[in-house]
Symmetry: C2
């Protein structure tokens, strides 16, 4: 019997509902593959603010450090929207990423042939898309100092707000290396780096480092693209992309946009990897969806697929990941759909119902 | 006879080709409506670097200041890509916007019923879209100081690059006011402000100022949205938007993305307005397309439509703007298309051919 110790952070909003289903799926897969799970649950985000006055309590962080991997659902909600930037639920998530040095956020975007109708894009453009966004996750304007809101000197009471977009060479290099190595494992071996090097110094340094590294990967077909153009090209012709490398802020925007290729944010998992010193974090790319929280309506598949990324990248169990992915495929083939991916003639399920179908298929 | 003095900046790449056609259209419309044009042409961007060693020569700027409006095509190209940030073609454009205090960049996005096929989005989602992005244009990380690339103290030769995202209250207020006033003139009276207030102080100040102003416009249906969500919603269901207000960097990304709703960047004009002290700038939102420059393949319609915005906003000639827009509609109805909007069964035209068709229709 293999044993794995996983930190489980359900977070806020729909988080507890989708995490519940995900743990059930892992437990069932565990029985089939002779794996015993030790799930260490802890609060993060708004739940942690309410319980402990801190969006990332020290107990939660140390529990994460002791685990082999961190499985996280989502954080945030209107209840905590008026707190200052360091006290918000989101600050807990950002500190977790930073403390675990999870600098490379992998966001695979692929289409499910059963869900082509769910995409707002024309089916012939999205069928067969298989791209992955590598988003830098512990730098950029998310973390740069100085930041704040201050009165302008001699501004007669006027205030200004500022953040710092910042990258050092070593931060660029380490995430670029992840992206190039990843590109080498993929059939097309393409890498497109996205920046705004026609305006920003941060992007100029980014472009020059990544281009330099490209010379050491002659088998990778490398290109650079401006972020405004990339935002357009992702919609215009997504099949042109294989691996897309970008910074934290641009990656946030582009990956949510790219989710529309698969039809729903509710289908997209992510993996946030460091250099191996600390456990990696696995989380869906969607948010906490306060509007449907507690209603058993959410799509748990992005969270379940995040668990399959954990099985692949942290636990070296591709067999279990394959089995769970197959179960999801079967359930989609049978026509079961949550509301976000519903289309005519399909069978609408709530969160726990679709979970049960996946368990049956397993 | 009315006389109008216009600064004409053809810029780089496809700029001269599309500007040529645009001026022909204005001349023909002028004959019909008894308007005499004084076109003052000057170099900007790469052309100005080559001619005068400066992407915005003082002569160009002072000529712009003496005009009633500035009509600009596009700047940039690989030839000047290795220059430093302050010497690039783009720096000339950015300085022009700043010097003329053109802080409110209006980017209308609408669909042409004749071009629904050209959009990568499903036709039923884009038919009838009529939204306008109000992008702040003289602040944000585009202009914030400090900025640069420096060696890290004690960094053993490692460098870091930084830019400053920055907004003062008065900068937010003046562009927000343009957006609210604009929303008041539109049938749906909706305004959605886009930011990243769950992470950035700059966005928190933005959100708090814009929300405060919303209270003075009770007839406007106001909402705020995070930029990652907005990037998704623009593709998911664009009809939900009417006026979209956002900062310089987010606006750059979202407006290029939104161009796919109309099917091509080649159809989208923009107007950059200040408080009236200086002339406004009218320019297509597309770039200089170096790959097709000099080949007479470009779509001049975004540039021509920018001229119609000039007729409306700066010259108070809605009659002429209507006539030109009608001519474009007729040409599209007749099935003439440039390459970027070509679809099966239509007649492919090059840049000057489509220009001739528009002149005939006028
Ligand atoms: C919740 C928020 C802080 C977060 C981010 O911006 O990184 C989210 O949007 C994401 O993409 O994971
Ligand atoms: C050319 C570039 C500097 C410019 C910008 O980023 O503003 C362009 O992309 C635009 O949108 O007008």
């Amino acid at each position: 019997v293999a044993r794995h110790r996983i930190a489980v952070l359900p977070g806020d909003g729909i988080g507890p509902e989708i995490m519940n289903v995900t743990l059930e799926v892992l437990r069932t897969a565990g029985r089939r593959f002779d794996v015993e799970w030790e799930f260490l649950e802890a609060p993060i985000g708004g739940a942690a603010i309410d319980a402990a006055g801190d969006p990332l309590p020290v107990e939660t962080l140390s529990l994460c450090r002791r685990a082999e991997a961190v499985l996280l659902a989502c954080v945030g909600g209107p209840k905590w929207d008026n707190l200052s930037s360091k006290q918000r639920p989101e600050a807990g998530l950002l500190r977790l990423r930073k403390e675990l040095e999870a600098f490379a956020n992998l966001r695979p975007v692929r289409t499910f042939s059963q869900l082509l109708d769910a995409s707002p894009l024309k089916s012939e453009l999205v069928a067969g898309v298989d791209l992955i966004i590598v988003r830098e996750l512990t730098g950029d304007v998310y973390f740069g100092e100085p930041r704040g809101i201050e009165f302008i000197p001699e501004g007669n009471g006027e205030r200004e707000a500022f953040n710092t977009m910042l990258y050092r060479e070593s931060e660029i290099d380490r995430v670029a290396k992840v992206a190039f190595e990843l590109a080498m494992t993929r059939p097309r071996r393409k890498l497109c780096s996205v920046d705004k090097a026609n305006v920003l110094e941060t992007s100029m340094l980014w472009r020059s480092r990544v281009s330099t590294m490209a010379a050491s990967y002659p088998d990778v077909e490398f290109s650079s693209m401006y972020v405004d153009n990339a935002a357009m090209q992702l919609v215009r012709y997504p099949k042109q992309f294989d691996v897309v490398l970008t910074g934290n802020m641009f990656g946030d925007i582009l990956s949510d946009e790219a989710s529309m290729i698969s039809g729903s944010l509710g289908m997209l998992p992510s993996a946030s990897l460091g250099d191996g010193t600390f456990p990696a974090i696995y989380e869906p790319i969607h948010g906490s969806a306060p509007d449907i929280a507690g209603q058993n309506k959410a799509n748990p598949m992005a969270c379940i697929l995040s668990a399959t990324l954990m099985l692949r990248y942290s636990l070296n169990r591709p067999d279990m990941a394959d089995a769970i992915e197959l179960a999801i495929t079967n359930v989609l083939d049978q026509g079961y759909r949550t509301a976000d991916i519903m289309s005519a003639g399909k069978r609408l399920c709530n969160c726990s119902e679709i979970g049960d179908k996946i368990l049956e298929a397993l």
